[in-house]
Homo-oligomer: 188 residues x 2
Amino acid sequence: MDEGVSGFCIKAGAVRAAAAAHGGGNGSTGTKCGRWNPTTEQVKVLTELFRSGLRTPSTDQIQKISTQLSFYGKIESKNVFYWFQNHKARERQKRRKVSMDENDPVFRREDKFSASKRFFEVNQVTHDQPERVIETLQLFPLNSLDETEQEKLRSLHANEYRETVGTFPYTMGSEIDHPPLDLRLSFI
Amino acid sequence: MDEGVSGFCIKAGAVRAAAAAHGGGNGSTGTKCGRWNPTTEQVKVLTELFRSGLRTPSTDQIQKISTQLSFYGKIESKNVFYWFQNHKARERQKRRKVSMDENDPVFRREDKFSASKRFFEVNQVTHDQPERVIETLQLFPLNSLDETEQEKLRSLHANEYRETVGTFPYTMGSEIDHPPLDLRLSFI
DNA sequence: TTGTTATGAATGAAAG
DNA sequence: CTTTCATTCATAACAA
């Protein structure tokens, strides 16, 4: 199991055990050196921005978002950049509700071009959003926000847990009536 | 809190250990579990495929494998995907642990990349490890429909373009359906 | 029960 | 943008 914790960060001691970041607003405030671990606040804001239609923030936007989120914890521009990139990619990936009729008893004709991208049948948290993709959203008025201004953004409560969208209503209701038994690797 | 479906699971019995060797309701058909639990048959096949050299099955292959394995129990494409992903990663992880040769106990510190690709630069590290495995194994000769190349040489420098175009006003709150959450996105 | 291990799933980071 | 890698989180299966 937990073999050598390879990795390249010094993490001199056993840092692994600690973790337990889930469940609560993990500080992530300069904890370890490893990778960015967003706080629930940060994730919430980012998610909301995404929901608002922002998908590929510009450099300027990334900078502003990063600045704002830095209050909630350590964060860098690249984190925001990657977040959006990953979120978008995975959202699309999961969006692939391609119903691969593997159970279809009727031989189907070859589809023109089958989707060749990864796709899982993962449901998505109710998103009744008319898919309005705003590439460039007006973020943060240019008038800089003072420290005091940022303080106002503070307040709030720490929502528990981090975003976890990972469930899916199994669609493959029941099994198919037994196909040729014993297939093993014969199909390779 | 709401982390999707997790927790309750009927756990239809030993699926991994032994048993389940017979075509019979192991925890697959009627179990609504939050997490896939492979049957011994499924694991066996997957392992054999892995041993055969398959490490990163294509979407098409994943599909086929999933279809085949569905006989042994409930399984989805993403399960296969994750299985290979994890198996490969852990194989490598163990390999890495062994790598710590006493020959040179010096730990090389990863240079802190500062950068900028826009803000940060992704330093091109290395690309070694002459991976000697079969990336693409021919599975199921039945229908070896090879999806044609879709779009590969696309995208490119379309970013700048988009950035510029999206400068339209965008009234806050107007277009966006008012977020039900407590938003400090007011600064948008 | 509690603690540990194995591994499914998620995701930040980065390569291609 | 797409795909892969590395690390981490969560939990079923198991041991004590």
